[in-house]
């Protein structure tokens, strides 16, 4: 290779520029910080801002930051400010694991708020368990987890289905078509759904799984047409929700006769598909943006004032918001010298607060949350109308589909 002096200088300059950016953070790390020092409490915020789930996770990041800012503006926790350390795990499980380790082991955070997908929660779990730290997970998920290092503030299958399935059978009929994305969450929801349907004497006419991100539903639509179910029970996620609804509309099917009943369609997905495609279909969740309560009005108006009037709140961003207040409530009980993840966990057991969806409680046995199931129908204007508002809050049972196992305070036990 012929080398010119100019090439060499250019190359050196490029390398120099590269290394100046990289070097300081790469080699000098402050480690071993005290947990609550200088009147500050460090917490991690671990939602993807880039990558495939970046859009939805950004809304969770925003809800979390809003809550932290509100608490700090109101004087913090016992006079101490919450300092959020925000990381971008880029929708990649390996990066999730790496950033979680940084937050727990290097930054000295006493808790981390994070994750949308189960895959990312599973990826970060080892460090929280080995280092006795605390992860706050706001998303509805498939259950069957009994970690002592995770506070689960989203719904588990029994909280979304116990009211929903009997209501659907009663109002529409006994023939169910199950459609889901092919991963563990829809499989588990359907395992539980089939259990409920069996008890109600209803039948499953077809059970279908499509790959994640799938957007071509014509064969599914024709199966729906030929099996003529009363209800299409949908646990497809992400962009597939949008495609399925649009193709359902284009095929000329009628939501009044054969509605889709979803556990995953929120205001966020409705905004992406347009109100017309969503109208007439049902969702079961503990929270809808239109829910009427003073706490929710305050949350929605604060959220839109902070992040933009066109932004929606939904059933994952609401737990992202209230779980920071639960954290505050737990830390308030502790002396400044005693703020560690295990003491926070003990303090949060049985804690209650009024969330936008209603009064919630952390179950001391399994660290999941007592929630208020609701059934709502999507409207053409992009919002939902709540049809059934549960009269009682519902206890979380992450092992509902597995009667021989139970999650108790000591850990998972066989019965």
């Amino acid at each position: 290779m012929v080398m010119k002096r100019r090439d060499f200088i250019r190359g050196t300059a490029a390398l120099g520029a590269v290394s100046t950016i990289a070097a300081p953070q790469l080699w000098f790390k402050n480690s071993g910080l005290a947990r609550a020092q200088n009147g500050e409490i460090k917490v991690g915020v671990l939602f993807s801002l880039t990558g495939t789930t970046g859009i939805i996770e950004e809304s969770l990041n925003k809800a979390t930051i809003l809550a932290i800012e509100e608490i700090n503006a109101a004087g913090g926790i016992n006079g101490m400010q919450i300092v959020p350390v925000v990381e971008d795990p880029a929708s990649d499980p390996a990066t999730f694991a790496e950033k979680a380790r940084k937050l727990v082991m290097s930054d000295g955070c006493v808790s981390v708020f994070g994750s949308y997908t189960s895959a990312s929660r599973k990826a970060v779990l080892p460090v929280f368990e080995k280092r006795e730290n605390l992860y706050w997970y706001p998303t509805l998920y498939e259950g069957r987890e009994c970690s002592k290092n995770v506070i689960y503030t989203g719904a588990v299958p029994n909280q979304q289905q116990d009211e929903f399935i009997p209501w659907l059978v009663q109002n529409f009929g006994k023939k169910f078509f199950l459609i889901g994305s092919n991963y563990i969450y829809p499989q588990e929801e359907n395992n539980y759904c089939k259990k409920l349907l069996e008890g109600l004497g209803a039948e499953v006419v077809n059970e279908e799984y499509v790959p994640l991100g799938h957007s071509e539903f014509s064969s599914v639509i024709s199966k729906i047409k030929s099996t003529e179910p009363n209800v299409i029970f949908s646990t497809v996620v992400g962009d597939s929700v949008v495609a399925l609804h649009r193709q359902y509309l284009a095929a000329g099917l009628d939501p009044a006769k054969m509605p889709m009943a979803s556990l995953t369609t929120s205001e966020n997905e409705v905004a992406a598909m347009g109100g017309e495609a969503a109208a007439g279909h049902f969702t079961s969740a503990p929270y809808f943006m239109v829910h009427k309560s003073p706490e929710n009005e305050k949350f929605v108006s604060a959220y839109q004032a902070r992040w933009g009037a066109d932004k929606v709140t939904h059933f994952v961003s609401e737990p992202s918001y209230f779980q920071v207040y639960l954290f505050k409530q737990a830390v308030e009980k502790l002396a400044a010298s005693d703020i560690t993840p295990p003491t926070i966990r003990e303090a949060v057991k049985g804690a209650e607060m009024i969330a936008p969806q209603g009064k919630i409680r952390i179950e001391k046995d399994n660290l999941h949350t007592w929630l208020w199931p609701k059934i709502a129908v999507a409207k053409a204007d992009g919002q939902f109308e709540v049809l059934v508002d549960s009269k009682e809050w519902l206890a979380p049972d992450p092992y509902a589909a597995y009667p021989d196992q139970k999650c108790v305070e000591a850990g998972l036990t066989n019965i």
Partner: protein, 384 residues
């Protein structure tokens, strides 16, 4: 065939300098724990070293034999899953089904351990499989491609397509693979009573040792007769064929050795990360490996290794600095563009330029360092 006396002194000096650099790198990575006593950083650097290892493996097939294997992440992922399977079978019994059936199989209503999981109850088998399966797969694939004289961009397309198929299969067959979530909740690796906790010096040293052995082993291969033929194939395949060499056999060899090293790296990745995920055998990772190689200098094993470490390190540092939280991807892109424009041979190319300038001064390297002994030993072996 290979006669060192036929080479002029500068070549020998260059070789000695190169070996000295490689050895210095190995000593340096072993010295890191002496200066850093932070579990988090050791774990992070161990991860970077693993990525360096898989980039080095690609450099062997791409930089030396001209085989652009865009499916490098497949070998990596297969190794990673082999390790995860054996560690999964050793987890706490309460979290598994009857007879230690992995939890995700219970969720998917699988009742007995599938036959291809059974041998993974032995860690020794898993370690063997983590290297042998990628090696065999690459050899079979290479046999079909190179016997059919498929070259250049078509190799890249085929390997990429196989990677995509394998990735879809792993996600789809979740009852046997854990699907989208991968294989999580693993036991700790234990070999002969030694425990490898992901955040310990023992794991760091395990990774550093494997990397050093593979790096020096690969260097020996590139300096052997076979290594020279690899490079000749890369530069002018037809000519090598007319000389009577079995080009396909050499290409299969390059690709399968590279795959075996990537498989080993994948196994270490599971130990360091404490889970296996389909993203470990995904297209973005595979393309990243190519980028690391290009940034470091694909025609240098050490360059590719360092390229991966530098890029992964920068990615971590940039995304963690508050200034770049929203723009770190843009900055990374900009850096890649700069490297491609101004450093077509990567960081190693830059070093090479510097080295040549130094060499031009007479006697600059007179009295080469002692480690050249290993090199001449290698040559002696080749001559026999």
């Amino acid at each position: 065939m290979f006669d060192s006396s036929a080479h002029a002194n500068p070549t020998r000096n260059r070789n000695r300098l190169q070996l000295a650099l490689y050895l210095a790198f190995c000593v340096a990575i072993f010295a890191v724990p002496l200066f850093i006593d932070d579990d988090f950083l050791l774990n992070r650097y161990a991860r970077y070293l693993v990525l360096g290892m898989v980039a080095m493996a690609l450099s062997l097939s791409w930089g030396y034999a001209g085989i652009l294997n865009l499916g490098q992440a497949l070998s990596f992922g297969l190794g990673s899953y082999a390790m995860a399977m054996t560690l999964k079978l050793k987890t706490v019994p309460i979290h598994t089904g009857p007879d230690g059936l992995p939890d995700f199989m219970v969720w998917n209503n699988v009742e007995t351990l599938p036959w291809f999981w059974v041998p993974y109850q032995s860690t020794a088998f898993a370690i063997f499989a983590g290297v042998a399966v990628p090696w065999a797969l690459a050899a079979i694939l290479g046999w079909f491609m190179f016997r059919g004289r498929i070259t250049g961009v078509f190799v890249a397309i085929i390997t990429l397509a196989i990677l995509v198929v394998a990735n879809l299969l792993v996600i789809d067959q979740q009852r046997y693979t854990g699907g989208f979530n991968g294989i999580t909740d693993l036991a700790q690796l234990e070999i002969l009573g030694l425990e490898f906790d992901a955040y310990s010096k023992s794991t760091y040293f395990l990774v550093a040792s494997c990397l050093s052995v593979c790096l020096l082993g690969a260097l020996a291969i590139t300096r052997s007769k076979a290594g020279l033929i690899f490079q000749a194939i890369r530069d002018q395949e037809e000519r090598v064929r007319f000389f009577g060499y079995d080009v396909a056999a050499y290409k299969i060899m390059a690709m399968s050795i590279s795959a075996a090293i990537a498989g080993l790296a994948g196994m270490l990745y599971t130990v360091v990360m404490e889970f296996a995920s389909p993203t470990f055998m995904d297209v973005p990772l595979s393309l990243s490996i190519v980028i690391w190689c290009a940034v470091g200098g694909r025609q240098s094993l050490l360059g590719a290794t360092i390229g991966a470490i530098v890029v992964a390190g920068m990615q971590g540092a940039l995304s963690e600095s508050e200034t770049f939280l929203d723009t770190w991807m843009l900055v990374m892109g900009l850096i890649f563009v700069l490297v491609v424009l101004f450093l077509p041979n990567g960081l190693a190319g830059l070093l090479d330029m510097a080295g040549r300038r130094l060499m031009r001064r007479p006697g600059a390297l007179a009295g080469g360092p002692a480690p050249a002994k290993g090199l001449s030993g290698q040559k002696a072996k080749d001559q026999t």
